[in-house]
């Protein structure tokens, strides 16, 4: 049997297909765009599967169009991360427009979770806009930030306010790399306080697209003093978890 998991997020859609042995058979990714269901259909049509489970913000729309079961991204990320790193008890997921810290029971079930507020402060979208303001490509943003010797203090977490703060730092002639580092520092501070609210020890599995940012992963383990484990394809953990849950319900 083939089990698919689709994660329809605010910024991107991921799809993973696994077999009965939980082995990944294939995966796809696309930008969500303005018509998530059309995009989702396109991706779904490219693969064959027996069962599908949806997660992410678009899950309820998908449920209506495809008559498929759904699961929240919290449970999906928890299951995906726990399967990739058996025994892990804490997950940090920073996606396009939200971030969450999840504590797990030993059996992988969700024990407690925290999510960011309604705005996109401290998420992938925040980093993307800030990279643009500073003239960096998003793929290089983390590397550039790591090159700075120190981070400049950025106090605003709101995307709109932080952008004007960054603009005024640029106007003062400050180094772009140091500004970039400061932005990463502030996102990390926020993530750490969220993690500390749910769990105080043990390794952290870092999932979501932002886990591909080298500065984020480096700073996280440095400032938290806990081991941070990064999946090979962190942005697929939610869809992988959904596929596993599709397998589980049989």
């Amino acid at each position: 049997m083939r089990y698919a998991g689709i994660d329809i997020g605010s910024r991107s859609i991921e799809l993973v297909v696994v077999n009965d042995a939980c082995k990944v058979l294939c995966r796809f990714q696309a930008d969500t765009g303005f018509d998530p269901m059309a995009k989702a259909k396109k991706i779904v049509n490219r693969v064959s599967y027996d069962r599908i489970m949806a997660t992410g913000y678009g899950r309820n729309l998908f449920e209506i169009s495809f008559d498929a079961p759904t699961v929240t991204e919290i449970k999906a990320h928890a299951r995906g991360a726990w399967t990739l790193f058996p025994g892990s008890q804490t997950v940090l997921d920073i996606g396009g427009q939200d971030s969450k810290a999840i504590a797990l029971f030993e059996n992988g079930n969700v024990k407690k979770f925290e999510m960011n507020d309604r705005c996109a402060a401290g998420t992938g979208k925040f980093l993307e806009i800030m990279a643009g303001t500073l003239g960096f490509k998003i793929e290089d943003f983390g590397k550039e930030a790591l090159m700075a010797e120190k981070g400049l203090n950025i106090s605003s977490m709101c995307t709109v306010f932080a952008e004007s703060e960054v603009t005024s730092l640029i106007a003062k002639g400050q180094s772009r790399q140091e500004i970039a580092r400061g932005l990463h520092d502030s996102v990390i501070r926020r993530a750490i306080s969220m993690i500390n609210r749910v769990s105080s020890e043990g390794d952290i599995v870092f999932t979501g697209g932002v886990a591909k940012n080298l500065c984020m992963t480096t700073l996280l383990s440095e400032k938290l003093g806990r081991k941070v484990r990064i999946p090979d394809e962190p942005q697929f953990v939610g869809s992988f978890g959904a596929a596993l849950l599709a397998l589980e319900i049989g």
Binding site: N60, V71, N109, V110, K111
Partner: protein
């Protein structure tokens, strides 16, 4: 039958406005209340109409924000906005307004509210178990009594007060009986039905009408009239909602819980079970009122041990599967207390809790839905 009763309630609500208008034309006074702490008995004892005032709609908030800071609790902004826009009929009917020094936001809002309507603010103590607190509250009720007497021209004696207590006890008893229905499994009333009935009945000037309607609902609900057919008995998780008050217009969390396949079976808040108390009918009436009303377990009190006791009792009696603790944005007292509530529920019942902070706007519906669905997945 369900629809008959809900239609009847709607008709009674419409008739209520006409009744109040006519009563006022005959010279009867109306007194507006914002908080559960001030005893409506004092109004009833002077033949005045006690009116709870609106504050559960998002609509007047934008107007309120022209004067009040945005970063303030939506309940306060909504209440104030209704007054400024003059869109709450009950505010319009009220000759005087009674407020209490509950939270900081409210007491400062009342200062501004007095520009629109004579507003009397009772000095509510911040603790409940000292002799000084009780004696202060007792003397504030004495002052409140004189305010009502001046307004109505009626001298409030002990017999009048006792009769008022009896009537209000009957009303509270009917509300309690209605809320207690949901101790049954499955809950015979959905959370939103219960909320709608409790909310609307509160506005009725004729207390007897409200009591008999609630009794009718109880009788009908016992026969299962309110149960929806598509619900498989026992399959839905039973949720207790604690924290800030909710009413029509500020019930988005209740709706999302229901849409996510669970039931809100009980409300541990001042629009719900915090009203399920009885005032002693035998002792000196003003003493009894002071003591019972001061005991209301709101987070403005420090310490607020009564809330923990009530929560424990309700979690057991309503056999709940989960607890959602709701805080309106910028409500510091409930927001801070949330940490201890979570700890308490976790320790006592080994049950996870979901703490939500939001306002009346619909903009975060999907974010709330994720949290609520994820919480239900955990249970």
């Amino acid at each position: 039958m369900k629809y008959d009763i809900m239609n009847k309630l709607q008709q009674i609500m419409e008739q209520n406005l006409i009744d109040i208008e006519q009563a006022k034309d005959r010279g009867q006074s109306a007194i507006g209340f914002y908080c559960l702490y001030s005893p409506m008995e004092l109004a009833v004892a002077a033949d005045a109409i006690p009116l709870p005032l609106c504050g559960t709609s998002n609509e007047p908030i934008a107007t309120a924000e022209e004067i009040l800071p945005r970063n303030l609790c939506p309940l306060i902004k909504s209440s104030f906005g209704f007054a400024v826009k003059d869109t709450c009929p009950f505010f319009r009917f009220s000759d005087i307004i009674i407020g209490d020094t509950t939270c900081d936001g409210k007491k400062k809002m009342f200062e501004l509210l007095s520009r629109y309507k004579p507003t009397h603010v009772l000095q509510l103590p911040q603790s409940q178990d000292t002799a000084m607190a009780l004696s202060l509250w007792r003397s504030e009720l004495e002052r409140f009594k004189k305010i009502v007497e001046t307004q109505t021209g009626v001298a409030i004696n002990n017999d009048r007060l006792r009769a008022a207590i009896r009537l209000m006890n009957l009303e509270r008893g009917a509300r309690k009986a209605l809320m207690d229905m949901n101790k049954a499994k499955p809950a015979p009333l959905s959370g939103s039905q219960l909320l709608e009935i409790l909310f609307k009945v509160g506005f009725l000037a004729d207390k007897e009408k409200g009591i008999s309607l609630m009794e009718e609902v109880v009788a009908e609900a016992k026969n299962g009239s309110f149960l929806s057919e598509d619900v498989v008995a026992g399959s839905r998780k039973r949720i207790l909602l604690t924290g800030v008050p909710v009413g029509l217009g500020s019930d988005k969390v209740v709706k999302i819980v229901e849409q996510s396949g669970a039931d809100v079976v009980a409300f541990e808040n001042c629009s719900g079970y915090k009203q399920a108390f009885f005032v002693d009918e035998k002792t000196n009436p003003l003493d009894a009122l002071a003591e019972q009303y001061l005991a209301t377990p709101c987070s403005v009190m420090s310490p607020n041990n009564g809330r923990f006791d009530l929560l424990k009792e309700m979690i057991q009696e309503f056999s709940v599967d989960g607890v959602i603790d709701l805080t309106w944005q910028a409500c510091h007292t409930y927001n801070v207390e949330a940490f201890r509530i979570e700890e308490f529920v976790q320790k006592t019942f080994g049950m996870p809790i979901l703490h939500l902070e939001t306002d009346y706007a619909e903009s975060d519906t999907e974010q709330l839905r994720v949290r609520i669905e994820a919480y239900l997945e955990m249970l």
